[in-house]
């Protein structure tokens, strides 16, 4: 089992996300994360899906995705040079005094930004690969994580190559 990263180009139409997500659920594939947005071509969207499975399962995932009429292209970039990023917003309990300073220090080390300061909380914004966010989250747990939102992974190939133009 391995986490695979798929970059899926789809028609920018209503209902497409539901078709894609529905295919995963009804065939019993496990989505780890899914992020979707418009892309460089206005009539298309790009979905980044990370999915857990062995090679045989992944083969099925890709083939079943390709069968959807609104799916234009499926690229498995797991084994290709790519960069992956995820954004998380983390609201941490941070009372004035020592814990607040410690949280700020940790944020600094992780290159997270503090984007809101409340009387008893800080909100951190962090960008990185999912493992980095996991690590930060783990560290912050001891101070009390009040709320955590993650966007899901987005990924892009390194260099000149694109998932649309190969």
């Amino acid at each position: 089992m391995k986490i695979h990263t798929l970059s899926v180009l789809v028609e920018n139409k209503s209902g497409v996300l539901s078709r894609v997500a529905g295919m995963f659920s009804r065939r019993g594939f496990n989505i780890e994360s899914l992020a979707v947005g418009t892309c460089e071509m206005p009539e298309m969207s790009r979905i980044t899906i990370t999915v857990n499975g062995d090679d045989v399962q992944l083969e099925q995932v890709k083939k079943q995705l390709n069968k959807l009429i609104d799916v234009i292209k499926v690229s498995d970039i797991t084994y290709r040079e790519h960069v992956r990023r995820e954004l998380a917003l983390i609201k941490v309990a941070a009372n004035p005094g020592s814990s607040r300073a410690e949280v700020m220090q940790i944020a600094d080390i992780f290159r997270a930004q503090i984007i809101d300061v409340g009387s008893k909380t800080l909100v951190l914004q962090v960008v990185g690969d999912p493992e980095k966010i996991d690590a930060l989250e783990k560290l912050l747990r001891q101070y009390g994580v009040k709320e955590l939102v993650r966007t899901g992974t987005v990924a892009v190939l390194r260099g000149i190559k694109t998932t649309a133009g190969e």
């Binding site: 083969e59 099925q60 959807l68």
Partner: protein
């Protein structure tokens, strides 16, 4: 300018549609008003599920795309089983549903249901049309998607305002171009060469042909390949008719209720050539034990089927007819495989599908007699259950598209409406619906449609006053505890007569031939109620989870 309804009806005619099956309702009234003056033939069914099954039967018998029409909400929902049936068996269908006006969408309006959402897992694609201008192009895309590649049902949901609004006359159908849809028809040449090499090397090859051979009209190519290479052919339930039942190379059906010789041959083969078949669990039994010593070549138009259930040595994505033609062009004469063909001949002689000659009214006798009387000519539709398996085993099908049955979904109630549809596709052929007393009661209201249009469907009810296949499982695996599978006696002839259809009840084996002959000789519809031996089973049988050579029953009779 034209109304959406007019554009729709004219669009159907442009697609070559001649007959549709449907049921009116509130939001589709504008469409029905347009149908009133149209040359399009509309058949009024008694339940929307029957409209979908009829469109499906029409499609399977003709090879063309079947069309059904229902209103919003309950009407659309009633199509669901029929759409799922078509999806599982890859049948080209366009299902048209009415929808509440766009302004009311999502408001839980009267007779509103999210039918595109409901049917998403059981359609090849679906559309919710938002503008009258889009109707014609949507129809074009829908027929293109339904009828090409791996065929399947496409749903078009039409809000009421979209069919009442006006739009410019769309003119002739524009060419279809869909960025995300490019089915592969031609097989990869390198893979084909590899397949030919494996065929030439094989000592004990078997062809395993499925519904894809019928769908791509590849029957002639299949027979030529088998004859040229002397490779025996076993077919799935969906592949029956691809090679004549009495062809010397035909091993009949394989799998759960397949012949012993087909299942033995597949178990012992060293090469399995799968064509348009999907390694369904009813075929393979325990998958690890399916063709355990064979290299496998798999030809399929749907890449997702290749390697889905079983590891494949040579995958060939493409249309069966085109791939087989390409193989035939390149394959040279084959070595004789005398030992293998002798072995298969011995199995055939040892384990024939035979019918006990004990004077009891056996269902197999009914099917066998019908087969003899029709000489295998005619369209045979079945319901689901024992009736279906006995027909698959005993009827000697001579041609593709003459055996119509719900294989993948196993839909009880399919047969009668599908037989109605098949009649409109093939009015030149006699159409029989082989039914059980359980299945026929799932859509028995269609006697009304049969009578109204005088559809000459002959309904053969194999009546054992049980849900026979379920009872068989209870007998074999649940210690004969017949939990809720016994059905009371029903006067089917009386029901038929109430609808204005003629019929006859048969209680003994002596009456079988005469009764079937009178049904064949009747011009209109006819219902035959055969009171068969109640505890007859379908044998051979592979118990669920067993290997296909581990059959019970049906040996050395």
């Amino acid at each position: 300018m034209k109304t959406g309804a007019k554009i729709l009806v004219e669009g159907l005619l442009k697609q070559g549609v001649t007959t549709i099956f449907g049921y009116p309702g509130g939001v589709v009234l504008p469409i029905y008003d347009e149908l009133y003056d149209s040359p399009l033939q509309h058949i009024l069914v008694r339940h929307e599920q029957a409209a979908a099954h009829a469109a499906d039967g029409y499609a399977r018998a003709s090879g063309k795309t079947g069309v059904c029409l229902a209103t919003s909400g309950p009407g659309a929902c009633n199509l669901v089983t029929g759409i799922a049936t078509a999806y599982m068996d890859s049948v080209p269908m366009v299902a048209l549903t009415g929808q509440v006006p766009t302004a009311m969408l999502g408001n839980d309006a009267f007779q509103e249901s999210d039918i595109t959402g409901i049917t998403m897992p059981i359609t090849k694609h679906s559309y919710l049309v938002k503008k009258a201008e889009d109707i014609d192009s949507t129809l074009g895309e829908a027929f293109h998607i339904a009828g090409t590649g791996r065929q399947g049902p496409v749903l078009i949901d039409l809000p009421k305002d979209v069919v009442t609004n006006v739009a410019p006359d769309p003119g002739p159908q524009a060419a279809i171009s869909l960025r995300g849809y490019h089915p592969t028809f031609k097989g990869n040449l390198r893979q084909i060469e590899k397949a030919i090499a494996l065929i030439s090397e094989a000592e004990r090859p078997v062809i395993y042909a499925g519904g894809g051979v019928i769908a791509s009209d590849a029957s002639a190519e299949l027979i030529r390949l088998a004859e040229q290479t002397l490779i025996p052919v076993t077919t799935t339930l969906m592949g029956i008719g691809a090679i004549p039942g009495d062809h010397p190379l035909n091993l009949g059906m394989l799998g759960m209720h397949g012949t012993r010789y087909a299942n033995y041959a597949v178990t012992e083969c060293d090469l399995l050539l799968a064509i348009g078949a999907r390694f369904d669990d009813r075929v393979t039994g325990r998958i690890q034990s399916f063709a355990p010593n064979a290299r496998i070549i798999h030809i399929d138009i749907d890449p997702a089927e290749i390697g889905k259930n079983k590891q494949i040595d040579v995958p060939i994505v493409g249309d069966s007819k085109m791939v087989l033609s390409c193989i035939l062009d390149r394959i040279s004469s084959q070595k004789a495989r005398t030992a293998w063909n002798e072995k298969i001949g011995n199995w055939k002689a040892q384990h024939p599908l035979s019918i006990p000659d004990d004077g009891l009214l056996r269902p197999q006798l009914v099917i066998k007699t019908l087969s003899d009387l029709l000489n295998g000519e005619g369209v045979i539709v079945s319901e689901v259950g024992q009736n279906q398996m006995w027909t698959a085993q005993q009827f000697c099908f001579k041609h593709p598209r003459t055996w119509i049955t719900s294989g993948g979904l196993g839909t009880m109630g399919y047969g009668l409406p599908a037989a109605m549809g098949a009649h409109f596709a093939r009015p030149d052929l006699p159409v029989f619906d082989i039914a059980g007393d359980g299945s026929i009661q799932m859509n028995i209201q269609e006697f009304g449609t049969v009578a109204q249009y005088d559809i000459p469907v002959k309904v053969v009810i194999l009546n054992n006053m049980y849900l026979g296949m379920v009872r068989q499982w209870q007998e074999l695996f649940y210690d004969r505890r017949y939990s809720y599978t016994e059905l009371p006696s029903v006067d089917f002839v009386g029901i038929a007569k109430a609808y204005g259809i003629d019929g006859m009840r048969v209680d003994s084996a002596d009456g079988v031939r005469e009764a079937l002959t009178s049904a064949i000789d009747t011009d209109g519809p006819f219902v035959l109620d055969f009171r068969i031996h109640r505890e007859e089973n379908v044998f051979p049988m592979v118990p669920a989870g067993a290997a296909i050579n581990e059959m019970i029953g049906g040996q050395n009779k």
